[in-house]
């Protein structure tokens, strides 16, 4: 359609379009800057940047070469995030189902407000709470898991110290991402067509029968989208991990042991005293994290949007 706009309108449209495009520009700028600064490291280290095991700034005289790879921290990012998802998703589904189908009308409103507020709790508070309130409970569970399941490599713990482990950090991360997954899931469950649910009851079914037959299939892709959003948040989490995990630079898949880390906390830890070359490595690490979370979030957005459109 070809519309002719007046001069005033054209200026208006230019300004507005420019303003709207800033978000695109900012996003691109971030990516480009990190890449530009970090590319030297990618060139120097090659694939070892991802797969290696060391992070050393090297000595000033160059005798000990600088070697930077994010391998252990990337693994740590994925491990803590997966632990978080493992606990958060079932709990969120239970929470969402409870709010939509079981909670009495009077309580439901309060719960929804509480949910919104919970999604706004800064991650700093989770770190504080994790350290001061939750850690004794988490250590108890870790000890028990090790006691009964220690034969399984994942739950092995040589040193017998259970605090500040990926397991505990993962649990607190789970608590952190439950609000957003529950929110998205509840949204999608509330959009289940009323007649389908009513039909299940009219046929003589129970509440769980209706949920299983209609609500869960209907909400499946929405819940997946929500889980991916939660994953995106867990991947990039800095402060809580920094406070709750004993940051040790090595691959650690014994999640009950007291060592681990993730890329975000690596950046936070090393940033203060980094040499210029090391700083570039941190930027390269930041770029990898940026790509990772961006991909997950874009996929999550696509899934959630597609779900909404399909159900409209």
């Amino acid at each position: 359609m070809h519309v002719v706009y007046s001069l005033g309108d054209r200026i208006f449209r230019r300004i507005v379009t420019g303003g709207a495009l800033t978000s695109l520009i900012v996003l691109a700028l971030i990516g480009l800057f990190l890449l530009a600064r970090g590319i030297e490291i990618f060139r120097d280290m090659g694939p070892k940047f991802i797969t290696g095991t060391n992070w050393t700034a090297g000595s000033e005289d160059g005798v000990i070469p600088a070697e930077f790879s994010i391998g252990p921290m990337l693994a740590g990012t994925i491990v803590t995030s997966l632990i978080a998802l493992f606990f958060a998703v079932p709990l969120s589904i239970a929470g969402a189902l409870y709010m939509e189908f079981f909670a009495p009308a009077k309580i439901k409103g309060t719960l929804v407000s509480m949910l919104d507020l919970a999604a706004a709790i800064p991650s700093l508070f989770f770190g504080l709470w994790g350290m001061q309130v939750f850690s004794s409970m988490g250590e108890r569970w870790a000890t028990l898991t090790n006691h009964y399941l220690g034969w399984f490599p994942l739950f092995n713990n040589e040193l017998g110290i259970f605090g500040r482990s990926p397991f505990i950090a993962g649990l607190v991360l789970a608590a952190m991402i439950v609000p957003i997954i529950t929110s998205v899931s509840r949204e999608v469950y509330s959009r289940t067509p009323r007649e389908l649910v009513d039909t299940c009851y009219a046929l003589g079914g129970t509440r769980w029968g209706a949920i299983r037959a209609v609500v869960l299939p209907f909400g499946r892709s929405g819940v997946v989208g929500g889980a991916m959003l939660g994953l995106g948040r867990a991947l990039g989490e800095t402060v809580a991990v920094y406070l709750l995990l004993n940051i040790v630079f090595k691959y650690n898949f014994n999640i009950l042991e007291s060592e681990g880390g993730n890329i975000a906390s690596l950046i936070a830890t090393k940033f203060g005293e980094a040499t210029p070359y090391e700083l570039k490595a941190l930027l390269a690490a930041g770029f990898v994290l940026f790509l990772l979370t961006l991909t997950v979030n874009m996929a999550a957005t696509a899934v959630v949007n597609r779900t909404e459109k399909a159900q409209a």
Partner: protein, 353 residues
């Protein structure tokens, strides 16, 4: 068929009832049963290896589950499955909600002791973190946070509104792209935003500064403000725009003078929600602005305090009093976020007419 007779007799009054709900007596009896189960669970926790509130919760849950299974004998598989799974779902929801409730309660009970009358007005210039709790305060942190948030809002609110206007009024070719990018951008990790501002603003200006911090916060705030602005502008009825055009107004006049004013409180809501989103962020400030101990009103040069960095610093020191200060600082911060949310909700209701 039989029918009511003479309709000049008015409808016979009857009292509304809800017979599908359990009668009071039975509800009370159920409550007694659960209370008894709780007492038993407590006793078990006292004498056995189960410890702490989690031990209690687990024992109580197992008891309730057993009771449900007992009650569901002989009523058919579908109904007993329903009863048991309903119990499990309730327990799962409880566990999902428990951490936040615990955080809220901890904030109040542990944060309360660090509060005293001057807490909001004093700074940490002369007080060390280990001093008695009736000295020192977060005044400087509040000022710092306020400054940075203000600068961030001044930057993001116009940009967010422009995005919203673009998506709802101009609706150009990039609409899908812009919307998609805004939604994806809300997933950028806060540390990456901090890193970006560090490598640009801090490096080139040669100093940590409140402005750098504000810019990092702005990056995180923009998606929230843009999204809320779009939602608010979408609510403007199409007829309003149609009337404006029918009267001969150009698009820009129509947008500025007709559409935007009707959503004034909605746009304020967008700003408030954006602020609530970033006021508690720590990671970006770690890299761009650090912190300091005294009141400071110049955001352009040198580190400045903020609420999250205050809490973070206190937490890292780790002594009894500094941790107490961390809790009270967190309590103040949470109250600020709460106040913002309540204001946003009130304003959000105003636009609806």
């Amino acid at each position: 068929m039989s029918t009511t007779s003479d309709l000049t007799i008015h409808a016979i009054e009857a009292t509304p009832k809800q017979p599908w709900h359990k009668p009071r007596a039975e509800q009370r009896r159920d409550a007694m049963v659960y209370l008894a189960l709780a007492v038993v669970a407590y006793a078990i926790v006292m004498v056995s290896g189960f410890a702490g509130p989690d031990g209690f919760a687990l024992v109580f849950f197992v008891e309730v589950l057993l009771l449900t299974i007992l009650r569901s004998r002989g009523i058919g598989k579908a109904k007993s499955t329903n009863a048991i799974i309903s119990t499990v779902i309730g327990a799962g929801a409880f566990v999902a909600f428990a951490p936040w409730v615990s955080i809220f309660i901890s904030l109040v009970t542990k944060g309360f002791q660090g509060l005293y009358f001057g807490y909001l007005f004093d700074d940490m210039r002369v007080t060390t973190p280990d001093d008695e709790l009736n000295m020192g305060g977060v005044g400087h942190a509040i000022v710092g946070s306020l400054l940075m948030v203000l600068i961030a809002t001044v930057i993001t609110l116009p940009l967010g509104i422009l995005s919203g206007v673009y998506l709802t009024e101009v609706r150009g070719r990039m609409t899908k792209m812009v919307r998609f990018v805004i939604q994806s951008m809300s997933g950028v990790p806060s540390i990456v935003a901090g890193l970006f501002i560090y490598t640009t603003v801090v490096t080139y200006s040669g100093t940590y500064s409140g402005v750098a911090g504000a810019l990092a916060l702005a990056v995180l705030m923009l998606p929230t403000v843009a999204r809320t602005s779009e939602e608010v502008l979408k609510l403007v009825p199409e007829d309003l725009r149609a009337v404006s055009y029918a009267l001969g107004a150009r698009q820009w006049r129509s947008s500025l003078m007709v559409v935007l004013p009707t959503v004034r409180s909605g746009l304020t809501t967008a700003a408030i929600l954006g602020v609530a989103r970033v006021v508690g962020e720590t990671a970006p400030l770690l890299l761009t602005v650090l912190t300091n101990n005294e009141f400071k009103f110049n955001p352009f040069n040198g580190p400045i305090a903020s609420m999250p960095m205050y809490v973070f610093g206190m937490l890292q020191i780790g002594t009894e009093y500094s941790i107490a200060r961390a809790w009270s600082g967190s309590l103040v911060l949470m109250l600020i976020v709460l106040a913002l949310f309540v204001t946003a909700r009130r304003l959000g209701g105003k636009d609806k007419r």
